[in-house]
């Protein structure tokens, strides 16, 4: 399924502050939304990840493609995950990140640099486990936060860690 790029919501927006609901990975609407997230990623240039709440769907669905980022090491490729869950996290590092829903702002945010994420593939519902590190780990955690109504701003490391401009990619 090719999917259709969607508009990305900007904060403040109630959907971006809400906890998203688990969904059936075999539901055709979920499969279609997953394709749309990937299509939005492809179209958005520097964007490396997106969560369903960012396109107005309060569903536990994310998509990412960290391989497009120059600082990535691991890369599972362009992937959508339904009902993703962080199973393990270690090696905490501070890195600068931004978000397409918080345009123009970037901040230093501590994240685990090695993670294990479990989820299901849209369509088949097949369970998958992703081992990710470095930038991909940061990107996935950023998307998981969206599913809990958390923005990267909520994890900023201090008053001097917020910036207006950066060369970082949008996570």
């Amino acid at each position: 399924m090719s999917g259709v790029p969607r508009d990305v919501l900007g904060a403040p927006h109630p959907v971006l502050s809400a906890s998203a609901e688990p969904v059936d990975p075999t539901d055709p609407f979920v499969v279609s939304a997953a394709a749309d997230l990937l299509a939005t990623l492809r179209e958005a240039g520097m964007l490396t990840g997106l969560a369903a709440p960012q396109v107005g769907l309060s569903w536990r669905l994310i998509a990412f493609d960290a391989g497009r980022h120059p600082r990535s090491r691991s890369s599972a490729g362009a992937l959508a995950l339904v009902n993703p869950r962080l199973a393990e996290a270690s090696h905490w590092r501070v890195g600068r990140e931004g978000c397409l829903s918080v345009r123009g702002l970037f901040a230093e945010v501590p994240r685990a640099a090695q993670i294990t994420v479990c989820g299901q593939l849209p369509g088949s519902g097949e369970p998958v486990t992703i081992e990710a590190d470095a930038f991909e780990a940061r990107c996935i955690q950023h998307q998981l936060d969206h599913l809990d109504g958390v923005l990267f701003l909520d994890r900023v490391s201090g008053a001097r860690a917020l910036h207006h401009r950066s060369h970082s990619c949008y996570a």
């Binding site: 123009g104 701003l153 909520d154 490391s157 917020l162």
Partner: protein, 170 residues
């Protein structure tokens, strides 16, 4: 040798800091603590400088073109650890912009003896963001404070998070 607090405000352009620092050096003063940022595209500098010139003499002798300079005498350095009885936290607020956000949040913190040691606010489109470093006395009921902050945040239509600042000494 006296201490002076100097502020510099003006339109940002390449070379502003070099100009200010050079002028202070010409005045024979040493820059101790300083911070600089852009506020809506305007450069804002605050400096604590030490030298033989009085604050008034500094203000008169600084050659910084169109920049607005103020200077005031400061009694002496205060040890930031001297009052360090408490625990560090980071407060984040984000939501729609409206008058009274900072006063509402800071009033709650002040009511429990909380001290804001650093603060950054910015407006990006419709989104207003406030990040504050906060020192709390160890005796504060943090859970109760977080409940009060949540009520304030709800009243402002904003999200507030308040979490410990992890500064490990290794």
């Amino acid at each position: 040798m006296g201490l002076s607090a100097v502020t510099v405000l003006g339109t940002d352009r390449p070379g502003v800091i070099a100009e200010v620092a050079g002028s202070l050096a010409d005045c024979g003063v040493n820059i101790q603590d300083s911070t600089m940022t852009l506020l809506g595209g305007h450069v804002a500098m605050m400096l604590l400088v030490a030298g033989d010139l009085s604050a008034e003499q500094l203000r008169e002798r600084m050659q910084v073109g169109e920049l607005v300079v103020t200077a005031a005498a400061v009694e002496g350095r205060r040890d930031p650890c001297g009052a360090g009885t408490g625990l560090g936290y980071v407060l984040t607020l984000h939501g729609p912009d409206r008058p009274g956000i900072i006063s509402s949040v800071s009033r709650v913190l002040a009511s429990v003896g909380g001290n804001i040691t650093g603060m950054s606010t910015t407006l990006s489109g419709r989104l207003y963001v406030l990040i504050a470093d906060v020192d709390l006395p160890a005796s504060v009921d943090v859970a109760d404070l977080m409940r009060r902050l949540a009520v304030v945040g709800a009243g402002l239509g904003s999200e507030i998070t308040f979490r410990p600042c992890e500064s490990d000494l290794l």
